[in-house]
Amino acid sequence: MNLTWYILKKDFVRLRLPLALWVILMVGRFLVGDRILRVENSDLDALQVTLGALGAMHNVLFGLQLILCGVLVAALIHEDSVVGENAWWVTRPISGARLLGAKLVGLVLFFWVLPQVVSLPWWLYSGFDRRAIGGAVIQLAYTQAALSLLVLLVAVLTANAARFVAMVLLLVFAWMCCFITFLAHSPDVPLGVTQTRALAGVLLSLAVIALVVGHQFLTRRRGRSWVMFSVGFVLMLLLANFWPWDWSRWALWRGSEPPTLAHVTVAPTGEVAFTKVGSNLDPSLVRMEMGFWYVNLPGDYSLNFGGVTGTLRWPDGTEQKRTGWIQSYPMRISWHIMGLKAPAGANLEEWQKGEEGRGEAAMILIPRSFAAKVRQQAPAWTGELELAAYHGELVAEVPFREGAAGGRAGHKVRVMRIEHLESGSLVVNLAESVPIPAGDDLPIPLDLASRRRPPACYVLSSRDRTKFVLLRPYAESGTFVNSVVVLRSTFSVNVGQLENPADPHWLDQAEVLKVAYWSVGSLVRPAHSDGLHEAQFRNGHRVDPTTGPKPAPGT
């Protein structure tokens, strides 16, 4: 073990200066992130420009940090190259296993532990609690693991930095060629199959990396390592494109279904709308938006980010099985706020009518010919929706005045600017730091380095909780700084509807409330519609299919 530490110490001495530069880049990102939270400008347009510049500066630092991290991982391996016959260690009493152990410990300490230690003050400064720090640690570990393991794989097969760069470019080019080739022939694949493919791809990648790295360190027979790598690459391509089975139910732990959502059902509105698919390579496809409602969904929960699989059946017996995804409209104001804060007797139903009178939409790509057929003859649709469940939590109650700040559970909200417009509306600018939930919905997130911040909604509320008005975002500048979302959002608020001659100064006592939604599991629900009709035009505008008649609760 002592000798392993000697090797590690040598590597640290060798890499200490670039490691220090790497840490400086990271700290630089924290400083830029803090600047994003603090910058002020009375002109909101100028503020957006400044925020854009700061965001770009952060992205440059982040890009440099990623590149330097890759270079450092490769340098750690090339310091004692496992390719060729001229490496110093090969003729010394150092076994391949010992060297591999030293390099893996170095990898963990330098590229997984060090960034966590450097980030900890930043997370604490951002107001993260234990749960938020846990999520940040996992998220950063995933990012670093994904990058360093891929670099490790290429580094053990190359002798020096020049060959490493050439090999990376070659592999990226090969991957792009394969990706484009297969994308052009991409069939309609159910979500579960896609998820199974992704998970299997991750597991296969880890197996190939372990096999190639271990083999190369222990034997230094590069030819055989290349064969393993190539076989793995081909298997990955085959798996990513031709794996036919949906094992997602068994392979992925999605979190159990919350008992409070046991009675939730899904009711299609029966209306569909067709939109052209802008970026799709196949012009013969159109997007069918199918509206539906969630029934019996408690106000403090939200269902979102899901997949849909179903079959269209026409009266003439024609069938078309298609898959799609759930359109995620922004989280709407939640009863949860009022459940927590509203005094007895508040007219919640009345308020909810205005804000939640809208369902969701499933997006399904179908051939144009079938779209025409839907218009001619209303088909029945039977299918299944798979939905991620979120629970709302009140994370900030901040007095509605410039400079006021507050928050909990890792969320920090500061009111930066309030501008009264002549129209009677308000423009509000908020600065926020928000934790990224990582690994809370899946033990192995398929996107490995999940960069999805939790959905949230914002409400302006009177102190006595008798008046609520939704803050509607119209400009947002968000940057991810080592698991902290640094956010500057501008909202418009129409307070005219809440003006009350008896209480003209209610705004002076108002608060900004923020509800964040945390992933709590997932649901799978069957759904059926006897006939899908295209939504009609009213007043020259196509009717949103999600505003169809709402079924009564309890159905």
Partner: protein, 304 residues
């Protein structure tokens, strides 16, 4: 006892056979030279002995262990210096020695100091700032300080200017006086090898031509000059051990590879009656050149 033995050791790179059926034995305590022109297969042989590449056929035993199984315990008894070895050039000489030390339980600190002084190596200078000769000395020092049983030097003199080469050889000679090790050195630098080695093997085109003691080799090769003095000369069907036989007027020259004074004199009297015979000793360099030319001539003859 042999510290290195090879049996039918063969290495092919595609269709090219770099080493063919090598049978070699390096006795313990010897300073053994592997000689041959560029491309003879010397470095490939050493790489197989050090398990840097695997043999295609055959086997090599080093310190009694199959070369493919050489582990840390055997490496602790082997010193290896090569012109191509990648040293951690960012380290100073002292850092380099400090780094090497823990890997060798038998590291001799006193010997390290002695060698450092003898080689006149600046401890605080980075390896990348050392001259090539100094760098080789540093590599040699790091391979000697633990008193290895076997010291392997792969083309240690190439690229060194004569002065540095001399210093380097003197360094090896000085430490060889300390005794107790076997040295295997591959080189095409014959003069330096002649100063160092007590046994020599010659390789050409991947094949071993011979392997014997330097004394025996220098003893059996002689350059013979025969002045006919008007007598006759029988140059037909010369013995196979007569190489480069040529006549220029009254002068006949050849090299005998099996010189024994009486035998050579008798053969000369029989073929060149009344002639004056002068038998001259040869240097290793002369022997090497004669053998290389003879090899080429034989190859041309075979091709024709």
């Amino acid at each position: 006892m042999n510290i290195i033995e090879t049996h039918n050791l063969t290495r092919r790179f595609g269709r090219t056979e770099a080493v063919h059926g090598l049978e070699l034995a390096v006795p313990e305590g010897s300073v053994f030279a592997l000689l041959g022109p560029n491309g003879a297969g010397k470095s490939t042989t050493i790489k197989m002995l050090m398990n840097l590449i695997a043999p295609t056929v055959g086997e090599a035993r080093v310190l009694g262990v199959d070369s493919r199984q050489l582990g840390p315990s055997e490496r602790q008894q082997i010193g290896y210096v090569s012109e191509n070895q990648q040293l951690p050039r960012w380290m100073t000489v002292r850092q380099y020695l400090d780094y090497c030390r823990p890997f060798y339980p038998a590291w001799d600190g006193e010997l390290e100091k002695t060698l450092l002084a003898k080689f006149e190596l600046p401890g605080d200078r980075k390896l990348q700032h050392l001259s090539r000769g100094m760098l080789m000395k540093a590599a040699l020092l790091s391979s000697l300080a633990y008193r290895p049983k076997l010291l392997v030097l792969d083309e240690p003199f190439s690229g060194l200017d004569p002065l540095v080469r001399d210093e380097f050889v003197r360094g090896i000679l000085e430490v060889s006086e300390l005794g107790g090790w076997t040295v295997l050195v591959s080189s095409h630098d014959i003069e330096e090898v002649e100063r160092l080695c007590d046994r020599i093997a010659l390789m050409d085109e991947g094949r071993l031509q011979f392997a014997e003691s330097t004394e025996s080799l220098l003893g059996r090769f002689r350059r013979v000059e025969v002045t006919l003095q008007g007598g006759t000369a029988d140059l037909a069907s010369p013995p196979p051990d007569w190489l480069e036989l040529e006549r220029t007027g009254e002068l006949v020259r050849f090299t005998t590879t099996r010189h024994e004074r009486e035998v050579t004199e008798q053969a000369c009297r029989r073929r060149f009656p009344g002639a004056a015979v002068a038998v001259n000793p040869m240097t290793l360099r002369d022997i090497f050149i004669v053998l290389a030319r003879a090899g080429r001539t034989a190859k041309k003859g075979a091709a024709a």
